[in-house]
């Protein structure tokens, strides 16, 4: 029996098994003085190519097809935003995909590339929340370092924003990936995640001044950067007609055993706490569905509800249930929390930490939102901007307020408002700067990202292409593919330990080919 087969039944057989792989992909906003949106593909490419650490090029797309829907079909094409056509100069020579993407696979196991005119940093697979936070923040520093190098080369200032909107109707994503059991049927997954994903913005939202897409009569400060941009409940699209539940079927693992829930509805969080709790609670919500639980609530209009909650200036966050009547976002979150406490208390240190923080933040939001200003982005930003409005006699409609919103997400330590809050010591930290610096070059030790990083740092010249689930390389004239699809369970650490003791590619191949020990 393979490791995958043994673990296939684990979610239902062993409800306390809560360790899973997860990661975050962030598309950064980029502003280059003197350049417009039509230049951003080139600017993003050049920024990515400014990376000066160890890397290999050549992404391995094995098993990837963004058009494949987990509901059992493949769409002919994905929706694109027609507004982007205005930025495509006619007659510009087309680039190959590899040239345009300019993939860099880093020694820490991350992927760094140009995606639709945004530098995108995908963290390596992590299994612990603090590792993920460290790698997410390592991505910030890597992108900022590249921007500075590029800026010095061309003599023009470059700003990098970890946000999700340009305030003119263009949004770009911060996606989360969660490995989960394939046994959860698609319809259960969609129905079970919708109420959770619609409402988690009350603690995971990054805040936004104003409304895009729709026109409102009153000025608003929203909880979420992204809520304006969702128009369907579930689909495979990500660029346009975005769904609350993305049904892309790319498990990056053995397909008959696993799904990867690709969450595209979230905001880019500056707060370390928000990143950790967003991922921790979502992982628990997935665990609930894996364990056979389904939430006792369905929303009448999830697409409307995600916007209503985000824009609700009363902070009551009431939405309509499918069967009639209203329920608040807090009550919905408490339904998930109560069941997760019952099923997962004591499962892992991360589960315990998440359950505790989840309960505390819901309590704080119920009593006084300012109690959570040291960890929830939308509250920290709102508090800061309201102080400015008070001092300057402004309101939310003043154009400077959106500029201040943008400045909250500026990664520059001298200019960014979140950076300023952190320097003042008022935002909760979960990892040290030293750990973040380590994550810029070192992969997590307990996931298959360690093996990817090992190939990059020690055997890069032999690598032909590398991806989430495999490494294609050449050894002694033979083309080999190291299949990493099965290596998604905690026992990969044994392989990591063996691999770390190798000193040559020949020894690596020897370890990979070694037959299994008998049980």
């Amino acid at each position: 029996m393979s490791v995958g087969e043994r673990l296939q039944g684990a979610p239902t057989d062993s409800p306390k098994r809560m360790q899973r792989l997860f990661g975050i992909e962030t598309e950064y906003g980029i502003a280059v003085e003197g350049k417009g949106a039509g230049d951003l593909i080139q600017e993003s490419i050049q920024l990515v190519r400014s990376y000066s650490g160890s890397f290999v090029t050549g992404w391995n797309y094995r098993g990837e097809d963004a058009r494949r829907d987990m509901r059992g079909f493949t769409v002919e094409r994905l929706s694109t935003n027609p507004d982007d056509a205005q930025f495509d100069a006619p007659g510009r020579p087309p680039m190959s995909m590899s040239e345009e993407r300019s993939d860099r696979v880093l020694a820490n196991g991350a992927r760094f590339y140009n995606d639709h005119g945004h530098p995108e940093y995908s963290t390596p697979e992590c299994s612990q929340l603090r590792d993920l936070v460290a790698h997410d923040r390592a991505g910030e520093r890597i992108v900022l370092e590249c921007a500075r190098r590029r800026s010095a080369a061309i003599g023009v200032p470059i700003s990098i924003y970890k946000n999700n909107t340009d305030f003119h109707g263009a949004s770009y994503g911060t996606h989360e990936g969660y490995l989960m059991s394939r046994e959860v049927p698609c319809d259960i997954l969609i129905a079970g995640m919708l109420p959770f994903l619609v409402t988690r913005q009350i603690y995971a939202g990054a805040g936004k001044v104003g409304v895009e897409v729709d026109r409102l009569d009153t000025p608003v400060y929203q909880l979420s950067q992204r809520a304006d941009f969702f128009s369907v409940e579930a689909s495979v699209d990500t660029l346009h007609n975005r769904p609350i539940v993305n049904t892309r079927d790319e498990p990056h693992a053995t397909p008959r055993l696993y799904r990867r829930l690709h969450v595209i509805v979230g905001d880019a969080n500056m707060s370390e706490w928000a990143t950790a709790v967003k991922v921790g609670t979502t992982s628990l919500a997935i665990g609930l569905l894996e364990s056979g639980w389904t939430p006792p609530v369905r929303l009448k209009n999830p697409v409307g509800a995600i916007k209503e909650i985000s824009r609700d200036q009363t902070l009551r966050w009431l939405v309509t249930r499918e069967e009639g009547g209203t329920i608040s976002a807090l009550e919905i979150q408490r339904l998930y929390l109560a069941e997760a406490q019952r099923r997962f208390q004591g499962a892992t240190p991360d589960a315990d930490w998440t359950l505790s923080e989840w309960e505390m933040v819901l309590d704080a939001l119920e009593r006084d939102i300012l109690l959570a200003a040291d960890r929830v982005d939308w509250i920290a930003k709102r508090q800061l901007l309201e102080q400015f409005m008070g001092a300057e006699g402004l309101d939310w409609t003043d154009p400077v307020m959106q500029s201040l919103d943008l400045a909250y997400h500026d990664l520059d330590p001298e200019l960014g408002l979140y950076q300023g809050l952190e320097q003042e010591g008022v935002m909760r930290r979960l990892v040290t700067d030293r750990r973040i610096e380590g994550a810029m070059t070192c992969p997590p030790q307990d996931t298959r990202a360690f093996l990817r990083g090992l190939f990059v740092s020690r055997h890069g010249s032999a690598v032909r292409s590398i991806g989430w689930n495999g490494v294609a390389f050449t050894h002694e004239g033979e083309d080999l593919l190291f299949d990493m699809n099965p290596l998604v369970e905690p026992n990969v650490q044994l392989l990591n330990e063996e691999m770390s003791a190798t000193s040559s590619l020949a020894e690596v191949v020897q370890v990979i080919k070694k037959p299994a020990a008998q049980e």
Binding site: L370, R375, Q387, D405, E478, P486, Q493, A516
Partner: protein, 61 residues
């Protein structure tokens, strides 16, 4: 040649070691005091009021 390691990883594994408790053993207690924003207010005053108006991006995912 396609190398699979699926079979060799089926051997019994030792228990997963206890996790590290992050840096310094767990999260800090909440700090709910209002920030001293005097420096931050100066920083905010330096923000170009037209920065958001000029800021245009392509749609991403």
């Amino acid at each position: 040649m396609h190398i699979r390691v699926e079979e060799r990883t089926t051997r019994p594994t030792s228990p997963v070691p206890d996790r590290k408790e992050g840096d310094g053993g767990g999260p800090n207690k909440p700090n709910v005091k209002r920030p001293d924003t005097s420096d931050l207010l100066k920083r905010m005053k330096r923000v170009d009021p037209n920065a958001a108006r000029r800021y245009r991006q392509r749609s991403g995912e």
